[in-house]
């Protein structure tokens, strides 16, 4: 009885550790022990997964770098929402913020082969690179669409995302980098929260923001591979189907 009680406590403790993305087994002996237990004992692993499931969490991956748990759905109390990033965003700012996040991920992992190779280390990237990737793609799509006159007739609310990115100011003079009203500001906002969520790490700190570079963490790789890509794909599919294209 006591043994199983201890088991339950350990399993819950492992979930507790996993919910703190900043914790790393490297400097937490107990975390390491619990991970060893998770690897060695299928019953313990099952218990951890059950506890996670009861909390509306799912275990995506485990390795010596930690246990990666994510909320099972957007309804989960553990799920990050737009309002957690910035409340009071306008619909077009929300749309652009999603694109900013995807652009950051795309710069690190342009193809799936990088995502699936655990040894692949993407080169560090700066805010300017994320911005240029998003902007270059949006502008290319805009140039491509100019030959199709139909697109010009679409009302602003229904206009595609590239149009939104092209029409937004790139940067507000006055250097408020985290303002959601500019493309650069939105990418800055995304990066800030991705750093907090341990998805990216600041590779080189600098007082001048243009010199700061970022690298992705293992968690970003796992999460993109196991969950995000699929979900983004579903959104793309659903959106295309809804538009009747």
């Amino acid at each position: 009885m006591t043994a199983s009680m201890n088991r339950a406590r350990d399993a819950a403790r492992l979930v507790y550790k996993a919910i703190q993305p900043a914790l790393s087994p490297v400097n937490d002996a107990q975390y390491r022990e619990l991970l060893d237990l998770y690897r060695a004992e299928p019953t313990f692993a099952a218990m951890v997964e059950e506890i996670a499931e009861g909390l509306e969490l799912a275990v995506l991956d485990f390795s010596e770098r930690g246990l990666v748990v994510v909320p099972t759905s957007r309804e989960s109390k553990f799920a990050m929402r737009m309002t957690d990033i910035r409340s009071g965003l306008k619909p077009e700012q929300k749309a652009a913020l999603v694109l900013a996040h995807v652009a950051v991920a795309a710069v690190f992992y342009p193809t799936t082969s990088g995502l699936e190779d655990d040894r692949f280390v993407p080169p560090p990237a700066s805010l300017a690179q994320f911005r240029d990737t998003l902007l270059a793609l949006a502008r290319r799509m805009k140039d491509g669409a100019e030959e199709e006159p139909d697109l010009k007739e679409i009302p602003v609310e229904l206009a595609p995302g590239w149009e939104l990115i092209c029409s937004m100011p790139l940067m507000l003079p006055g250097a408020q980098r985290a303002s959601p009203a500019s493309v650069t500001g939105l990418i800055g906002l995304a990066l800030l929260h991705m750093v907090n969520g341990a998805l990216v790490r600041i590779d080189r700190e600098a007082a001048d923001e243009a010199l700061v570079t970022y690298t992705p963490t293992h968690r970003l790789q796992v999460q993109l591979r196991e969950l995000t890509l699929r979900r983004l794909f579903e959104i793309a599919q659903a959106g295309t189907a809804a538009a009747g294209v």
């Binding site: 957007r74 799920a79 929300k94 995807v102 795309a106 995302g161 029409s167 969950l227």
Partner: protein, 493 residues
């Protein structure tokens, strides 16, 4: 726009098949006209700007905003010859100097404010730096359309310094209504350089040389970007389509510039030998230096061009290693473009889905109960504007009664009498009787209010009667639920 507003009338008058020819397509002219609207708006509204800073005299009095705006565009255009535009600080400095030259009474902070207003106008700060958007009537399509544009762009250059430069539309505003396609920025740039030369600016030659140098830099940047892209995502760069053509252009550029530079360098050397004036000599020396600097950059470009194919092949090698079959779409080449194609409403509707799928679990926000009570019990001081003037206390005059007591008593007695006679009666019937007996409007309204008050047993004026709603009534004096009054069982008056 007046003309446009009149056109639909014309359209109505003329039979449909012919009318198509009647509506001219003035889109280009209209658009060019609308490009100037931000400038006109500023000139019209200038006196309402900054009056608080300048005291009684409006800040913009005696300042021609058109001149200032065009100066700003001119400055930015000059900036594009050397860099990719002007930094805000450079522009502000220049505009301050011009404003002070126009109006010597401006002090530094006022001049700065003027400069900022000019820059903000060009950048549409009033509308959160969005694009300018104006409606116009499109004669060809017979409907109102919207033209969107920017006059200036605020973008980073190769060294990631943010600079202002005019957009194609901005050039058009500056160059007036020249019959040039605004899309062809290159053509506009040349036109602008012609203008500078005509103006007798000696250093124009220097600027042309610097521009050619920028072009070399751009070619280098392009080649490097493509190679980087090939390294990051093998297979995403199409050599034949994207790079080969550009490399050929770059080679052409190098060849042409080298011959040109050679000629120019010699010409400058000769001029330098014959020149005597210090300023001219200085300019010429500067020009020579720029020309030499450009040839160094071009030498680098040549080496980039030479090694590019080899480096590309090296990056492409990764493409051939064994890959696991994957059902997941590539982020950069497939998923991001697909998401960019989605409507912004679809994206914003699914924003929470995407975000919750990207971020790890976060701690739900749990507030301590103590904090909640603390927050709820906090009394915030209301920010009341203290009233400087002492007010006057006016005596309270009660509003006059709507119905005099005598009238109320009279109507009540009349109703009581009717109840006595009829036993039960509805509001509608009572009003009918009142009308036929010559009650005026005031009495009729008093009657209706009295009846409705009597609906509640607690307040009724006729305790022996019971009221029930029975349909609706509509009379001239009032309308509403038709209350039916009947005698309570067991009571007799």
């Amino acid at each position: 726009m007046d003309q446009a507003a009149e056109l639909p009338h014309l359209d109505d008058a003329v039979p449909a098949p012919d009318s198509v020819a009647e509506l001219l397509d003035l889109t280009k002219q209209q658009r060019n006209l609308l490009l100037l609207r931000p400038l006109f708006q500023l000139e019209l509204n200038k006196h309402s700007i900054g009056s608080e800073a300048a005291g009684a005299v409006p800040l913009f009095k005696d300042l021609d905003t058109h001149y200032l705006v065009l100066t700003a565009l001119d400055q930015m255009m000059e900036g594009t010859t050397i860099h990719m535009g002007c930094t805000p600080a450079e522009l502000i400095d220049r505009l301050m100097a011009v404003a002070q030259a126009m109006k010597s009474s401006l002090n530094a902070s006022q001049a700065r404010r003027v400069a900022e207003v000019i820059l903000d106008t060009l950048d549409n700060k009033a509308n959160a730096y969005r694009e300018f958007a104006f409606d116009f009537f499109d004669g060809g399509a017979r409907q109102t359309k919207t033209v969107r544009f920017r006059l200036v762009s605020y973008e980073p250059d190769l060294e990631d310094v943010y600079r202002y430069r005019p957009t194609a539309e901005g050039y058009l505003v500056y160059l007036g209504m020249l019959d040039l396609a605004p899309e062809d920025a290159q053509e506009l740039m040349e036109k602008m350089l012609d203008l500078l030369v005509q103006r007798g600016r000696f250093d124009a030659a220097l600027e042309i040389a610097k521009r050619a140098r920028t072009l070399s830099l751009e070619y280098r940047q392009f080649i490097r970007d493509r190679l980087m892209q090939a390294y990051r995502a093998p297979g995403s760069v199409n050599w034949t389509k994207e790079v080969a053509g550009k490399l050929k252009d770059a080679r052409g550029h190098v060849g042409a510039r080298q011959a040109e530079d050679q000629r120019m360098t010699e010409a400058v050397r000769e001029a330098l030998q014959s020149a005597e004036e210090a300023k001219t000599r200085q300019d010429l020396a500067q020009l020579l230096k720029t020309l030499q600097g450009a040839s160094v950059i071009r030498a680098n470009l040549v080496s980039d061009i030479t090694v590019a194919p080899e480096k590309f092949l090296l990056a492409q090698r990764a493409l051939f290693r064994a890959r696991r079959p994957s059902g997941l779409p590539d982020l950069e080449t497939r998923l991001l473009p697909e998401l960019l194609k989605l409507g912004r409403h679809v994206l914003s509707d699914h924003a929470d889905d995407a975000i919750s799928g990207l971020y790890p679990a976060k701690w739900p926000k749990v507030y301590g109960l103590n904090n909640v009570f603390g927050l709820l019990l906090e009394r915030r001081a209301e920010a009341l504007e203290p009233d400087d003037e002492e007010g006057e206390i006016e005596p309270f005059v009660p509003l006059p009664e709507q119905f005099p007591a005598a009238l109320v008593a009279e109507v009540q007695a009349w109703v009581a009498r009717k109840f006595e006679e009829a036993g039960s009666c509805s509001v509608d019937a009572l009003l009918g009787m009142a009308e036929s007996e010559g009650f005026d409007r005031t009495r009729q309204r008093c009657l209706v209010l009295m009846m409705f008050r009597s609906y509640a047993q607690a307040e009724t004026l006729f305790p022996a009667m019971r009221a029930e709603a029975d349909g609706r009534f509509e009379r001239e004096a009032a309308q509403g639920s038709n209350l039916h009054f009947s005698r309570l069982e067991g009571t007799r008056s």
